[in-house]
């Protein structure tokens, strides 16, 4: 964390190497977070770029003492997703009309994985917004509970309880989605 704090301080002075390191550290995670929220590859790619450009524009106003850098970055991503969904006249694409790239070379595994993402997307849409956010931040961002709490403006205990209820609901929904697919 100390290392990240010093990187952020250098990035605030527009030290290009420091900013590049932060970018590389978070690029995949932010892409994953956005892609799973909106379920569309092309839109997710555009939005991921927007998140980092926004971070570049706003880095001077960021204050470490308020929230960790990762939490700040995810908050930008979250706001972009919310704006995007608000502007859309209908609900976000439920099916992956452009398949999300998956790092597997075996076609069968890839197909199974795609099915897995699709099921997860369908199931998470049926969770409450707060449960969805916990699942996204914990599973795609791999953020610790303390940072998730900061991002969501809740206590750690409340986030743990939400996490619990989200996984229970997800388990039930995944069984339903799987049965629907089979049927």
């Amino acid at each position: 964390m100390q290392d990240e704090q010093s990187l952020v301080q250098r990035a605030q002075q527009l030290d290009q190497e420091a900013f590049t390191q932060l970018y590389e550290r978070y690029f995949n995670k932010i892409y994953r977070y956005v892609a799973l929220k909106i379920g569309n590859q092309a839109e997710a790619e555009d939005m991921t770029q927007q998140v980092f450009l926004k971070a570049l524009q706003s880095i001077s106003s960021y204050k470490w003492r308020d929230i960790p850098f990762s939490a700040w970055l995810y908050r930008i991503a979250h706001n972009q997703v919310v704006d995007y969904l608000r502007k859309k006249t209908r609900q976000p694409t439920m099916s992956l009309n452009e398949s999300l790239a998956i790092s597997e070379s075996n076609p069968q595994q890839t197909a199974e994985h795609k099915l897995g993402i699709e099921q997860l997307l369908l199931a998470t849409r049926r969770l409450t917004p707060a449960q969805q956010e916990v699942i996204s931040l914990r599973f795609t961002g791999e953020l610790p509970i303390a940072q998730v709490a900061k991002i969501m403006g809740k206590s750690e205990g409340a986030v743990k309880a939400l996490q619990h209820s989200a996984i229970v609901a997800l388990r039930k929904l995944l069984v339903v989605v799987y049965d629907d697919k089979k049927g």
Binding site: Q16, Q21, L53, A101, I102, H113
Partner: protein, 279 residues
């Protein structure tokens, strides 16, 4: 009841931390809480399945394109910020003067630091001096050459660490090498664009002064500097590949994966930079 729920939330969270972040297995988590195994197991299975499903990666071509665009934006913002603000320049001049005084006062220490390795106490001084050199270098061409020189130092350091069997530190330096080579590629795009616009300007009639004529002639005679950089990068690409491969032959088994990674980073980094210069 509430207390019991909270306890369960804490245990579930601890297991998720082990499963999601530390890559432990469900069985390892359950072994610590056998009395709750029946309740925890299905939840952890769901979490593991969700984690697997979310393991998606951006397309490599998108990642490369986005990286270049971000670095171009970063350069643009950095150059805009550094231009017009007098007070910033004043502060900067003060900082530089202070550092120069420190350098003069501790010249011996700095000289020793410049030859230090990442596992030595003076290494942070070396990095600080390098950062200062980068901050003081404004021309993209000079900066790219400086990054090339720094990359050369990083390769020397990686080989030293490999010989010492210090895989962890070698990995950190390899990441630094990757970043520095990426900066060269990014600067190469700027240099190529500058050269293109100067060539276009050169096609316009009559430079205004004798000095303009001289500069213009020098620019065309030297190929604008990009050729020098290409030659330098080609030399480093060849020598780094040879040196790292040689180190690989004699390195302890434990550091070989890091050396292979460094070879890959070096080949890919120089290739990208050279491609950007030749476009």
């Amino acid at each position: 009841m509430i207390k019991r729920d909270r306890e369960f939330d804490n245990i579930l969270n601890e297991c998720l931390e082990r499963l999601l972040v530390r890559d432990e297995t469900i069985e390892q988590c359950l072994a610590g809480h056998p009395e709750l195994a029946d309740t925890l197991k299905p939840l952890l299975q769901t979490a593991a399945a969700a984690k697997k499903a979310t393991n998606i990666e951006p397309r490599p071509e998108f990642r490369d394109r986005a990286r270049y665009q971000f670095r171009s934006a970063l350069q643009e913002v950095a150059s805009k910020k550094s231009r017009p603000i007098f007070s910033w320049r004043f502060r900067w001049a003060t900082a530089v003067t202070t550092v120069l005084i420190l350098l003069l006062a501790n010249g011996g220490m700095v000289a020793a630091a410049m030859g230090s390795m990442p596992d030595e106490p003076l290494y942070p001084v070396k990095l600080a001096v390098e950062q200062l050199q980068l901050n003081l270098t404004t021309s993209p061409l000079d900066k790219a050459k400086l990054y090339a020189e720094l990359s050369d130092r990083r390769v020397t350091e990686i080989i030293h660490l490999a010989q010492e069997g210090k895989a962890g530190l070698a990995e950190v330096v390899t990441q630094r090498l990757d970043n520095q080579l990426a900066m060269i590629a990014s600067l190469a795009i700027t240099i190529t664009r500058q050269e293109e616009s100067r060539v276009l300007e050169g096609a316009l009639p009559v430079p205004a002064t004798d000095m303009d004529v001289k500069e213009s002639q020098e620019f065309h005679q030297t190929g604008g500097g990009g050729d020098d950089l290409s030659q330098l990068l080609e030399q480093y690409a060849a020598s780094h590949s040879a040196d790292l491969n040689h180190a690989l032959e004699t390195a302890p088994e434990g550091v070989k994966p890091v050396l292979l990674q460094a070879i890959e980073v070096s080949l890919a980094g120089y290739e990208k930079a050279l491609n950007a210069l030749s476009e």
